[in-house]
Amino acid sequence: MVILALCGGLSAVGLNNRHKECIYVAFGSAAAFSACGIVVAVEVLSAGPLALSLPLSSDNGQISFGYSIMVDQLSAFFLLVICTLALPVSIYSFGYVKEYEGKYGLGRFGLLYNLFLLSMVLVVTAGNVVAFLIAWELMSLCSYFLVTFENRDTEKASAGMLYLVMTHLGSALIMSALLLIAFQANSFEFSAMKDVGQFMGVDVRNLAFILLLLGFGTKAGIVPLHIWLPKAHPAAPSNISALMSGVMIKTAIYMLIRTYFDFLGINGPEDAWLGLLFLLIASVTALVGVLYALVEKDYKRILAFSSIENIGIVLIAFGSALLFKAYGLNDLAALALIATLLHVFFHSLFKGLLFLGAGAILHATGTRNLERLGGLSRRMKVTSVLFFIGVLSVVAVPPFNGFVSEWLIFQSLLLSFTLNDVLVNLLVATALGMLALTGALAATCFVRFYGMAFLARPRSREAAVAKEVPRSMLLGMAVLAVLCLLTGLLSTNIIQVVDSVTTPFAGTSIAGRLTNGIVLETPVSSFSSMSPVLISLALLIALPLAYLFATRYGGVRAVRIGDTWDCGTPLNERNEYTPTGFAQPLKRVFRGFYRERTRTAVERGADPYLRRLTYETSIPELIDDFLYRPIVKIAVGLARKVGVIQTGSIQAYLAYIFVTLVLLLIIFR
């Protein structure tokens, strides 16, 4: 099955160097490929692991640099996540890529798209270090080329460059950590690395933990390694952004689970610091992500920052899983891991939907500036509804899927009160507070996004003339929207499956206790319970009640259409509320964080009473300014210092050799 899936991708790669038909070939086969992937994933989840090794290998007697593919439950779950998103995205792409026709090579796009899918699938199914590293880097490269696809744009090129450098840095760290593990296991095969952590020296093992955290953290976008993410994700074509934000950054979570729980293992309370570290980093990540999302003007950047926030949320759950596992609370560890995986899955769906929606807006208006939108819900009715479902999911409105995973994460954090360690408790409480704050800020952020983009009147010509996007794009979004709702409602069933994934890592299966028919319960007896199905049922029953009451009581009355209250002056787009204005109160609340810069300039014209006033605000990218730029500056400065040795004088050159020789001779005489 895997091979079949691989062939799907490869055949597309081979076929699509032709013109217009290549859209159909490329994305058709991508869709077929994803479908195959889903089938494989489901099969593995129900039947059991798959493994095969490819005949390609080079053996140097000591160790084999071969390739093998392994699909166990965890891989299958991520395969499912990837392919479930890839399928609708591929459908969406049929319509979306038309705008590139004639401007940029579509064949190239199709090729990269398929390779990107393939590499992501390979990352989660790779069975040994070399195969993994190659797939991992291939994934980075493909996404890089997709980010810089519109290569005439220097801004995109530099965004891509930053991305590639950061991801390469991450790969280097990952590579060294995996080599440390491989050295202990004396094999490059993942299957041989199981639980090698217990044989490793404490320092080496801790080093490996840290390296993996930093390496995968770079890909996942933890603060302060996230800087590439808000630049690269928006620069990519929207369907790619959806895949990048939706699933690519999740592959880091996959490897974190695999390396931490499978290879290195969490052995006991001495590993609790890891959990705490994760909670800390994750809380900061979530908060920083959402704070920047809140004030951003570029709506694709909003979504990118929101991805950072959600990765933070996922990692909060992951951190508590580590914590519980370290203290031997396997039930709770299982709960937290399930929450991790669920949020990974759900986030991929709604963030995918949102990015596709953003793509639709971009397609219709041609601008990425939120300040220039408005009133789209009347011009793009279907998109506005579908997008709204994504928004409801991301702000965790019950019973949508985002709520379910967030609820589980809250529960797993709350249940940590059973631990008796003040430091742990305090950090968990902090994480709780941050999570709650993050949730509320995210709601604000998306009110702003949706309200400013879809509601009210258009703020520019582009928005005023926007048209609904092609059917295939709508279909792709619709699939995801339906999935967002369905996965929320059917979460009890999904949890059964996810539990089988996490059982080997957490050491216990809790599905029986976690779900009670359609009701979710916490594994600790009667701590709490929640049922998305019942909530929606209750809402559905309440709705006609309210409706009937409202319409019947006091007689049936018609709804009239009138102007907005305008205080007597006709409204135009200049006195509408703007996104910047909307975020202003919160910007003031968090001004210590944003360090906003403002500039006011007054231009005097010929008329002393008519002046032109410009007011500019900008939010500096603190981490860029205070962390990365100095590093680059120092590196370049050092390099220039070293560069002095190349003086151009042959005598100096000879002197170098002379001094070296004399020194060596004196030392080694």
Partner: protein, 311 residues
């Protein structure tokens, strides 16, 4: 089934009494200000009047405007199912207090969007300010209820009140007081009361909640008002049942239930009195001084959770 029935009865109670509470507050406030004030039942009359009127919708508005009143209303209705009033039982398998808070958030979310929908500057202003307040107040609410939940060992509201009632004064820890204080401030903010917002104002530049409702009229306005009143009622009920549920019935027999009902009414009055007192003695704060108070509430709630672990 019993639970469901009890939950329905209590929900009906909450919905039914909600305008009354608002009426009481207004009346007390008037008396404190040496006015006669409208009758206690005035909110009911207002609602009846509004339901008889037709609505006007802005030509710029989208479907969000039409949907929002219903969403707000049903969110409150479902939330009411989860809150115990006089007996420590609710429809627990539907959800817990997190669900309640998120239902509030849902209502607020829709309201804020609806405020933006018409493209009026006032709506945008109200929406923006409301979201600022809620961004800080929602975590405060969550954390303060969490501290009660941690003491009780459950996040189910009925469960919390049950444990607290049965545990008696032993469980009256500083945590609860801190949490209650935080929750009280949050309630004021959440329900647009002074010093956060003036529910009676129509002075354009200071209003928050009212600015969001500016475009609503007739039946829709009635629903929104109804939802707001219910929310206030819910908040009061939660405050009592999560922090000081004493007097609530723990079993379904006439005497405890009667005691529970009376205790509930007394607490309701107390709360209304407190709000009225505050509203008469304080002025509305400047908008940009609000965050100080809001973060104060957040910190209090945070301390409550911390103190659970430390003390």
């Amino acid at each position: 089934m019993n639970d469901l029935l009890l939950a329905l009865i209590q929900a009906a109670l909450i919905l039914g009494l909600a305008p009354l509470v608002t009426g009481i507050i207004r009346k007390v406030k008037a008396l404190l200000q040496s006015r006669r004030g409208p009758p206690v039942l005035q909110p009911y009359y207002d609602l009846r009047k509004l339901f008889r009127k037709s609505s006007v919708i802005s030509s710029d508005a989208s479907w969000i405007t039409s949907v929002t009143p219903f969403v707000c209303m049903i969110a409150m209705m479902v939330a009411a199912l989860l809150v115990p009033v006089f007996i420590t039982a609710s429809f627990g398998s539907l959800g817990d207090l997190i669900v309640v808070v998120y239902l509030f958030a849902t209502a607020r979310f829709f309201m804020a969007l609806a405020a933006l929908d018409a493209g009026s500057t006032f709506g945008g202003m109200g929406s923006s300010r409301e979201m600022m307040i809620s961004a800080i107040i929602e975590p405060a609410i969550l954390l303060s209820i969490f501290s009660a939940a941690l003491i009780a060992g459950t996040t189910d509201l009925a469960g919390i009140s049950q444990v607290l009632v049965l545990g008696g004064t032993d469980l009256l820890r500083p945590t609860l007081f801190l949490a209650f204080a935080a929750f009280f401030i949050a309630t004021l903010a959440e329900n647009a009361r002074i010093p956060f917002d003036n529910p009676a104002t129509h002075l354009e530049l200071t209003m928050i909640h009212e600015a969001m409702l500016l475009e609503y009229s007739g039946k829709q306005l009635a629903l929104m008002e109804m939802a707001s009143m219910t929310k206030l009622m819910l908040c009061i009920t939660i405050a009592w049942s999560a922090f000081f549920p004493f007097g609530m019935a723990t079993e379904l027999s006439p005497l405890p239930v009667a005691v529970g009902l009376i205790a509930f009414l007394v607490k309701l009055l107390l709360f209304a009195l407190a709000i009225a007192l505050i509203e008469s003695s304080m002025a509305k704060m400047r908008l940009f001084r609000l965050p100080n108070l809001l973060t104060g509430s957040f910190i209090l709630a945070f301390l409550a959770v911390m103190s659970f672990y430390i003390l």
